[in-house]
Symmetry: C2
Subunit: 231 residues, 2 copies
């Protein structure tokens, strides 16, 4: 009943930013489930909308997910809600231990990988070398977490793959621009192969922004960050 | 079947630290569920055990939860696992939206409240004033999240209450030692009342460490932190 309710007549909205891997997570989950949604682009760098601030007064950030008028913030919380609400094509495993592992790795990506990677390419110059090492260690850890599987979710894309979309798509672009090589076929063959598999999936491919637009946007942001943090 | 399996003949172990509100979360959840467990005290300040490092190689931190030999790290991930595995006395609500809200507030406590509070009492001296303000804002936000309810979980203690145990027990002790008043009956009447209700619950009361031992331990830690960060 819930799955039917979930896919018919519901009002589903996503407040996001085109270049954000976090709102992309929400969109990917909805696309895998086949849930139609309205996408609302937010000007997060300049002028956040009153609606965004109303729906996410605590963090004032995208993504915000709106289901029949009820707001949810925080991308991993939203992914769990989507999986709890629309039962088809589960993104979390059924087994409690496997679910725990999925949550562990999704949190690892947010708490360790993402901050280390951003610091490695945009952080203060004197902290960048250490951050590159940290980001490299994070990716090495993810390589071992794949443990011979095609996706983190096993044979199909699941919550960890969706959470890791910035590694699957953004990292290979950004490291070229920043001149930092963290992820390569030589260094991390399993994770590199995963990025290929991930972006080759048709649902993912259709959902991602154009690569040249991402390149240009990140180039501008990295140039700015590196100028600002030069001693 | 799972609930029966879960409560009979299982080997459940918790690696924790007596003064940690994070391993306390795991113990509280197990006590609310009535799941017997073996507690293993870790010397996290001096000498972590090879077992801890073996079971949590990524973060090398307590708590570690062990169920029939399978390890799980990260306290909120462990709470979800416990609720997925032992169905009696649910700590997460049944409704998907309420579950999302519980996850949101539990994450808010970890991502915002805890770091702000620690910085406010132990951070570098020149950052302390700003951190006190931030911690105060966090507690104000939690006050509004209570929204007239007895517990964050409604009429009964749930995941957010368990996650917030450091506010229910530790904060009132620590702020006295540090000479910072953030939580009082005047400033935040609902949250202050919640701390009374929380520590009065018999399961909580039996599980908490002695107040004078906590006072002494934090006094030593705060003195040390404040000495180290004096310019």
């Amino acid at each position: 009943m819930k799955a039917v309710l979930g896919t018919m007549g519901d009002e589903v909205k996503v407040f996001g930013f085109w270049a954000s891997p976090f709102s992309r997570r929400v969109e990917l989950a909805l696309r895998f489930k086949g849930v139609p949604y309205e996408y609302i682009e937010e000007d997060i760098l300049g002028n956040k909308s009153p609606l965004l601030l109303h729906y996410n007064p605590v963090h004032k950030k995208i993504p915000v997910f709106l289901h029949n008028g009820k707001p949810i913030a925080e991308s991993l919380v939203i992914l769990e809600y989507i999986d709890d609400t629309w039962k088809s094509n589960p993104i979390l495993p059924h087994d409690p231990y496997d679910r725990a592992m999925a949550r562990f790795w999704a949190n690892f990506i947010d708490d360790k990988c993402f901050p280390a990677f951003m610091k490695a390419v945009m952080g203060p110059e004197n902290e960048r070398e250490k951050a590159v090492e940290e980001a490299g260690d994070c990716l090495k850890t993810l390589e071992s977490a794949l443990n011979g599987k095609r996706f983190f979710g096993g044979d199909a894309i699941g919550m960890v793959d969706i959470a890791a979309n910035f590694i699957g798509f953004w990292v290979r672009i950004i490291q070229e621009i920043a001149g930092v090589e963290l992820l390569s076929a030589d260094k991390l063959p399993a994770l590199f192969k995963w990025t290929d598999e991930f972006v080759s999936c048709s649902v993912v491919k259709e959902s991602l922004p154009p690569q040249d637009k991402i390149s240009a946007a990140f180039k501008a942001r990295i140039d700015q960050a590196q100028t600002n943090t030069r001693p």
